[in-house]
């Protein structure tokens, strides 16, 4: 079943909040479609992000989904996280 837009928006907002409070210094107007690597995301910050995602969403993303393309925006990372 397709995820409802509200749930997607909620997931993206939660992820953006984790990123800006614990992982990166993001500008207040940073959008879910902006490039995270441009904003400083690197392998070290991805390690911490994965741990936060696991705690916050109760899921561990499989290694097959971890690549530069999938992690380039908040929207794309959120799409990897199963519906709650």
């Amino acid at each position: 079943m397709a995820e409802i837009p509200d749930a997607i928006a909620k997931k993206e907002a939660k992820l953006l909040s984790i990123l800006s409070s614990d992982i990166l210094e993001l500008a207040p107007d940073f959008r879910t479609t902006d490039d995270l690597f441009e904003a400083g995301l690197d392998s070290m910050s991805i390690m911490r992000l994965l741990i936060h995602v696991e705690t916050a969403f109760g899921c561990r993303l499989p290694v097959s989904q971890v690549n530069r393309e999938n992690f380039s925006t908040v929207k794309k990372i959120a799409a990897l996280i199963p519906a709650e």
Binding site: I23, M44, R48
Partner: protein, 405 residues
Amino acid sequence: MSSPEKIDILVVGGGTAGIAAAVSAARAGARTLLVERRNALGGMASNALVHTLCGLYLLRNDDAQPLAYANEGFPRELAERLIQAGGASGPVRMGKLDVLPHQPAALAAVADDITRQTPNLTVLLHTDLTDLISGSGQIQAAHLQSRGHVFEVAVNSLIDASGDAEAGALAGAAFECAPADRLQRPAYIFGIGGAHETALAGDARLRLAHLISGAVASSQLSVEALGVAFRHGVSQDEIWATIDLQSDPYDPCSPECLTRVEDCGRRVSFEIIRYLRAHAEGFENARITCTPAQAGIRESRRLSGLACLTEDDILQGRQVDNPAALACWPLELRENAKGPRFRFPEENRPAGISLDCLRSRTFENLFVAGRCISCTHEAQASIRVTGTCLATGEAAGRAAAAILR
């Protein structure tokens, strides 16, 4: 102790700033002594296994703009001699920055060559500064020791290139230090050999991040492993792992803290390599090829000078009359695990560093070079890189030699 030997200039600390200072002072005719407590010159760029020379080149807006040295003179000379000796290859562009990857051991060997070939210069390795005698606003003599042998040298000037403003602190000169929670974190760097040449190819670094984060989450690796990043060295078969350590409470001038940092870095390095051998593709035969003689310290004391370089100076690319050196590296912040790591100056302009930032405000004949020059905590996040350390070293060496005349 026998009667003191008299020299013109004592340089304390044989890191890149100290090498540049000592060679430049001696070339200007000053009888110069360079003392270094470890077994090799090069400081962070050899003993701490920092393997990339940063801050050698002016920032560029894009790849089409030609590459230029920020500071001609000794920084360029060292870089070119390293390249000639096969100890560096590049420069290479990393994101918006141009850097020169090098072999730490080769840098120490090139420094040996340069200093050995410099008239008026004596280098003493395995030698530590233990005390300074001062009076009338001048440093007059230094007590040095090596393996239980203590000796005194009378000096005309002293250049503190210790990285920790050690000479300044011993002499009672004014200095500053950021609070523990603001200091840039230390890095523990180790070398890896035996990995497959594709071990870091494509998205492999991200897969390693996934692997390590999972191992930390399941308590198979210590939490400090979350600070690790991998990069190829000058050759493809060489990998450097850099662990940015959180070591609370952090005090880079306390032996207890430094012991904790070294102990933790070594322990986590071996944990990581054991885990990668068992679980990471391409690391089945990997092994640690070297650990550092010392952890990489990014920031500690800053000597208080006649002037103080600020964050605004760097971010606005502010010019000064007759700059002693140019600072061209962005502010690279490593205060905690949270990024972004870089803040770039307006229009990528370099900032001028005044000679007054290299002169103690307490002692007339005390100069400072390298990462502990007179600057704010924020500005230090730019000037601590090797290229700028070489440039402030050269400027301090020349200035100290000039006042002899």
